[in-house]
Symmetry: C2
Subunit: 351 residues, 2 copies
């Protein structure tokens, strides 16, 4: 009874990308759930809705008419959190009342002209077009902005207010908290161990196998050892790559392939269009382009909220907000579940 | 057009308790909301439900029968995330696969025998009893455990699965991430400025007034300058107090009074039982009891999820999870709204 077993015994795990710990209490999955039940994600979205501002040919909030696009489509967010020209709050501030100028741009990018598809249901070539556009945006906005955050909020549960497949790109004149922290952690590891943190990590995981969800010759998707969200995954290339625009044409194809396979597994888990927030982290840009960023490795984080079923999510609330994040199944259990799921999407399976 | 105005121009604000920044984009309140709408909180809870495991005289999951309690009632969580006897995962670990033993206890504390009351609807003497119990628990569990986290998840929106008024207390053999960070920040400020961070902050806010929600001779409730949640508040004593068990009888009465006033305003904001997660932070305990903790100041954080109405919350998703937290109204706007609300609860108002 006193031999440690990660499924039986709560323990802490270290997140080396954030220098924090997560409490893993897998035995908590036994508790019954009498709390809030979510609305399951909408499964029948019309291909074209004349009132949806993201569809081709429709009019947006600002009166602009969308082109009849047939691939990706990029436009400025009509209600941007970051604008290019905000004035500076000024200096000489009290240490407890510090503010700073925030400038930037917010863009929206539709993945496809149809509202009833998502990335795993799109053709591989169509997903490659999305990746090419991501790379273009990092190249373009990253020429001046220190940080370009590509992210996708998928599903109403993740605050997404439009079912049309799309992501957002917010570029800023500052390095936000999360990448700043990740930069510090990766730099310290590199200095100490002479190797990029995530390259070493990918090698270890590819050998250990127990947290691998999908792998190809170029890419790896794992439930990280320190995952906080129940089915969180980390997606990264095996080669040392700093930024998404450094990927070769072949690696972009490989990425489209592994994304489709990973996201199909996600959808198959509860047979719903799986909600998540995801985003890319790569080496900082703008003024950082001329610095040594060899401690960085490109990667994407997927943070899905669901825990038990299509309608019961994990609540990151009291203890998690005030003290420390806590999870109710081990990363190895989550990885095994995902790994064993079919790579054929439940919506396209015949029978 | 180029004079800085916090309501007009997005900017960053510094959180000195966490050493992070928040993006304030108040102009975003103008965007229409077409996203997820929450179920409004349950307004008609029966006073006694024979099937509710938290009510007096009822049977809990483990077969134990609750006493016929008439004030607060404390018991061990039937599905604890922390147990006292978990074995150690062992040492000699790879730097990217680090784990540690986690040991502790999880308790649940009912505030009142009735299911249809909440703290702002309880009598002041009844709230004092809750505070006395909190102090007792910090004294008792804190004699050995380095951290005792008192927290309340209120409302189904915050993952609370039982409408009966209650909170939780999780004590651990480790200092969790959030208090560890807050400890570092308060210590650094104290070293540099020779004064506890939050004492200096409380003085400044009491003078400036624009972020004060309620104040008494002993206590202050403000929307902090760096608030991330729309109606987040910080509640703290004006005197230098390290832990909740150091409060005098008079200060406990004062706390009961200001809690009732603050929570009444919260409920009055949208005329619903306002959901939130809240918790207490004070100087660490156990082995830290003999250390110099004079940089600490006792305080409570309230994190309510709602933004626009009883059914539209703020989503902390893509950009917030991957890059940085963002808010859609200024802390001063939130404070003004709360300050101007009545201190008579909408449920007890006659007419
Ligand atoms: O302990 P409860 O109320 O069952 O559970 C709730 O609070 C816990 C502590 O914040 C969270 O870990 C759970 O996700 C949440 O549902
Ligand atoms: O920009 P959207 O999709 O309207 O808004 C959504 O994503 C943003 C970025 O993560 C969040 O700040 C909002 O709270 C969320 O509702």
């Amino acid at each position: 009874t006193h031999t440690f077993g990660p499924v039986l015994h709560q323990h802490l795990r270290y997140n080396p990308l954030r220098d924090t710990w997560v409490l893993v209490s897998a035995h908590r999955m036994k508790r019954p759930w009498a709390g809030q039940v979510e609305k399951p994600p909408e499964e029948h979205v019309p291909r074209h809705d004349p009132h949806n501002p993201l569809c081709p040919g429709n009019t947006r909030a600002n009166g602009e008419i969308n082109p009849d696009y047939d691939s990706t489509f990029l436009f400025e967010n009509d209600f941007p959190a970051l604008q290019p020209d905000a004035p500076d709050p000024g200096s000489g501030q009290h240490p407890l009342f510090q503010s700073r100028a925030a400038r930037g741009v917010c863009k929206v990018m539709c993945f496809h002209p149809w509202s009833d598809v998502t990335l795993p249901l799109m053709k591989k070539e169509e997903v490659v077009k999305v990746i090419d556009k991501w790379a273009e945006l990092v190249e373009e906005l990253g020429s001046t902005y220190p940080w370009v955050q590509i992210f996708e909020n998928k599903g109403a549960m993740m605050g997404c207010s439009n079912p049309h497949p799309h992501c957002q790109v917010w570029a800023s004149n500052f390095l936000p908290n999360e990448p700043a922290l990740s930069d510090r952690c990766q730099r310290a590891f590199h200095q100490k161990h002479g190797e990029p943190l995530l390259l070493q990590y990918a090698k270890q995981e590819a050998e250990k196998k127990e947290r691998v969800v999908v792998e190809t010759s170029d890419w790896l998707a794992v439930v990280p050892y320190w995952a906080t969200w129940p089915y969180q995954t980390l997606l990264l290339p095996r080669r040392h790559v700093l930024r998404i625009n450094d990927l070769t044409a072949e690696e972009r194809e490989g990425l489209a392939d592994i994304m489709r396979r990973l996201l199909t597994k996600y959808d198959n888990l509860f047979e719903i269009s799986f909600p998540y927030s995801m985003g890319w982290h790569g080496a900082p840009t703008g003024p950082h382009l001329t610095e040594d960023n060899s401690h960085w490795q490109l990667h994407a984080h997927y943070y899905p909220p669901l825990l038990r079923s299509a309608t019961v999510k994990k609540f990151m609330v009291g203890y998690e907000m005030l003290a420390q994040e806590q999870r109710d199944l081990t990363p190895e259990q989550a990885a095994e579940k995902l790994r064993n799921l079919s790579e054929e999407h439940y919506k396209t399976r015949d029978n």
